[in-house]
């Protein structure tokens, strides 16, 4: 895929941001479940057969509820976790099979911003040491040059040089997150995975950090995978959005398509659940009932069928594939797109049978 894309790009027929830059196919990440023994192996299927692509220069939003595997997906993508199965093609190389040396070089091109800025900074290091560490690891420049670069980074993320020799606990949450961002930028990566990067911050600080991320994207031509449970923020920052439920991507498409014409019943419920702030309009809310099932033992067929109001007989048996709803907009639901889309009458009788 990526070779094709590269050729097309070389021929100049396609704009660079439409290249298939990072291609993920059939990615799985299983963890051994608690209480699993040698005789009775059970797995938490955190990411289960996920395929999508990330295009250079875009921001792909990844939304879903806690435990849906979005964070695991982000970590597996840059190989903080070794994938159980599947392929992550980046620049024509499969990340899962890279050796130590090659992976170390690859790490310079992809970075991670963590949710909790207090937990992701070593409490016993000063900001100076934290920001010089990436250069030390990769043997870039002399100590003096490293310090200069660290100071430059501080300036870029809007931290006063006063904090250079401070420890993380002497800073506020927003400032710590800026340090985390500066560290991620140090090696001039191309892809940054932001895992709930603003969720732990106060509202007024959130806006600062979102604006900063947007500025930096432009300045350093970054590509973001922006993972968040906050749909309003994802809407604000993303070009495309992927919705995850129980280890699977159930819908992916351009952000306006997802927010204005969500095709999957789960996406519809998610978007309806955003507190709108408009009380006068008594919107019809799709309230989901029940809880997310356990990822150790996910429901057969469509994983959403236990909470779905449109659930039909086929949903309990067959896992729906991602099907194109409109250009570039895919959803994994039996009743959306393709030939299997049944008419409402049939659905009602189907669910009444049960």
């Amino acid at each position: 895929m990526s070779r094709q894309a590269a050729e097309q790009a070389a021929a100049g027929t396609q704009r660079p941001e439409e290249q298939k830059w990072m291609q993920v196919s059939g990615l799985k990440k299983y963890f051994p479940a608690a209480g699993s023994t040698i005789f009775n192996r059970r797995y938490v299927k955190a990411v289960d057969d996920v395929s999508f692509d990330i295009r250079q220069g875009e921001t792909l939003g990844l939304v879903g509820e806690s435990g849906c595997g979005k964070s695991t997906l982000g970590r597996t993508l840059i190989r903080l976790y070794q994938p159980t199965a599947g392929e992550i093609l980046f620049d024509g190389k499969d990340l899962g099979s890279l050796g130590g040396r090659e992976m170390k070089d690859m790490r310079r091109r992809m970075q991670f911003i963590f949710q909790d800025p207090s937990a992701s900074l070593n409490p016993r290091k000063t900001v100076r040491d934290i920001l010089m560490e990436p250069y030390r690891i990769h043997n870039v420049g002399t100590e003096k040059e490293r310090e200069e670069r660290a100071r430059f980074l501080m300036d870029r993320v809007g931290l006063e040089s006063y904090y250079f020799s401070r420890y993380p606990h002497e800073m506020s949450g927003g400032q710590k997150q800026r340090v985390g961002i500066a560290r991620a930028l140090a090696l001039r990566p191309e892809l940054i995975v932001c895992d709930e990067a603003v969720s732990a911050l106060d509202v007024s600080i959130q806006a600062q950090v979102i604006n900063l991320l947007e500025e930096l994207q432009e300045e350093f031509s970054l590509t973001y995978l922006f993972i968040s449970h906050n749909l309003s923020i994802v809407h604000h920052i993303s070009d495309r959005v992927a919705v995850m439920y129980l280890g699977k991507i159930v819908e992916i498409g351009p952000h306006d398509a997802i927010y204005e014409r969500p095709a999957h019943p789960y996406s519809q419920a998610l978007i309806a659940a955003i507190p709108s702030g408009d009380r006068r309009e008594d919107r019809e809310r799709i309230l989901l009932t029940g809880d997310v099932p356990s990822p150790v033992n996910p429901p057969a067929g469509c994983r959403f069928h236990t909470r779905c109001q449109r659930c039909g007989a086929i949903c309990r048996q067959e896992t729906p594939p991602l099907r194109e709803v409109e250009k570039d907009h895919f959803a994994a639901c039996h009743f959306v797109g393709g030939s299997a889309a049944a008419d409402p009458e049939q659905q009602i009788t189907a669910s009444a049978e049960k």
Binding site: E65, S66, S172, G173, G174, Q175, D202, V203, S204, I205, Q206, A207, Q208, I210, N211, E214, H229, L231, S232, I233, H235, H236, I237, D256, Y259, E260, A269, L270, I271, A272, A273, I274, P275, S276, G277, D278, R279, R285, L287, L288, T289, G290, D291, V292
Partner: protein, 347 residues
């Protein structure tokens, strides 16, 4: 400016906080977490309290319950009148009779606020046994009813289960059932949905609205999420650095915020709008509690700040119509906000 809703009993004051001040004594010095806070809660209303971490919103709520740890915390002044009794001067036995009975509280983190070694049923029944002198059988019956009311499926089964066996949403329901079992006059909800997922949050908010209608309790809703406030509340109190900076009916607040901080907050939350304008951000950070600015606490971050603001701290000014604001230049706020969407150079 009058409220559009005509709830029964609105207008009658249930809780009145007058000039409350709470200080914490720490190694670094005295931290005035709550500074001269006054607000009222009317019967049957939902009052929202918004503010960032460290704004004193939770400490105020804890003071109502007399739950501020002492030491290091200390109430340095003020009154909290509840049904014409001052909660701050009541003896502890009296407070214990009110807690969980007339006033109850829902906490943010349902896992840590439930006792892991007791069954959910027992924890829901506890206030009944304690306050109402119910028998075991009757308490069980009412607990089951309450669990059904808050939407816990198969309550006969759940009543025997322990907190760790439940999901986050279910635990929060257990907390709410526990808080509501004695039909309190006032329910204090401290970030009740922050730890929950969007779809579960929607369920819980819907549930709280319904319960308020059915039980006619008053609710103090403490949160940093303006979306939740807009959806749930009748009136809003905005707090910043330990002070009330604005009080308003909900409708007026979002259309015409008077305090620059409120305005900044509203403009800094991303909304689901197709055009996606650049977010306004309030520059800087919350002031260090041990080095409060001399004048208005918000002045260092305010885009309207004048010399007066940096010199003298403004008082909470009553503007009539249920609105009050603590700002020298609230008249400017609305006028300039339209023109300075891109702004933010104030620092």
């Amino acid at each position: 400016m009058a409220s559009k809703k005509q709830d029964a009993g609105r207008g009658e004051v249930l809780l009145q906080i007058e000039h409350l001040s709470v200080a914490f004594h720490t190694v670094e010095g005295v931290h005035n977490a709550v500074r001269d806070v006054s607000y009222t809660v009317q019967k049957g209303e939902t009052l929202g309290v918004v503010g960032e971490s460290g704004s004193g919103k939770s400490v105020t709520a804890l003071s109502i319950m007399r739950l501020v740890p002492n030491p290091p915390g200390e109430t340095t002044g003020g009154k909290i009148l509840f049904d014409s009794r001052d909660l701050l001067s009541l003896p502890m036995e009296e407070i214990n009779r009110i807690r969980g009975n007339e006033i109850s509280m829902i906490f943010q983190e349902p896992m840590t606020s439930l006792n892991p070694i007791h069954t959910c049923g027992r924890q829901i029944m506890e206030p009944l046994l304690l306050h109402k002198g119910c028998g075991k059988q009757e308490a069980r019956q009412r607990a089951l009813e309450m669990m059904r009311l808050v939407g816990i499926p198969i309550p006969e089964q759940r009543i025997k289960e322990y907190p760790h066996q439940l999901s986050g949403g279910m635990r929060q329901r257990v907390m709410i059932a526990m808080a509501l079992i004695c039909q309190p006059k006032l329910l204090i909800a401290d970030e009740p949905t922050t730890a929950l997922d969007v779809t579960i949050q929607a369920q819980i908010l819907e549930l709280m609205k319904r319960l308020k209608r059915e039980l006619n309790s008053s609710i103090i809703m403490i949160t940093h999420d303006l979306g939740v406030i807009a959806e749930m509340c009748d009136r809003v109190v905005v707090m910043y650095a330990g002070q009330v900076v604005e009080i308003s009916e909900i409708d007026g607040l979002f259309d015409h915020p008077y305090h620059p901080y409120t305005e900044g907050l509203i403009q800094s939350i991303p909304t689901i709008r197709p055009d996606r304008p650049k977010l306004y951000s309030i520059e800087g950070t919350v002031p260090n509690p041990f080095a409060m600015p001399k004048g208005c606490s918000f002045a260092p971050r305010c885009r309207y700040a004048k010399d007066l603001c940096r010199e003298k701290s403004p008082a909470l000014e009553d503007l009539g119509g249920g609105r009050a604001v603590r700002c020298w230049c609230w008249r400017d706020t609305g006028k300039r906000s339209a023109g300075t969407e891109e702004g933010g150079e104030a620092q």
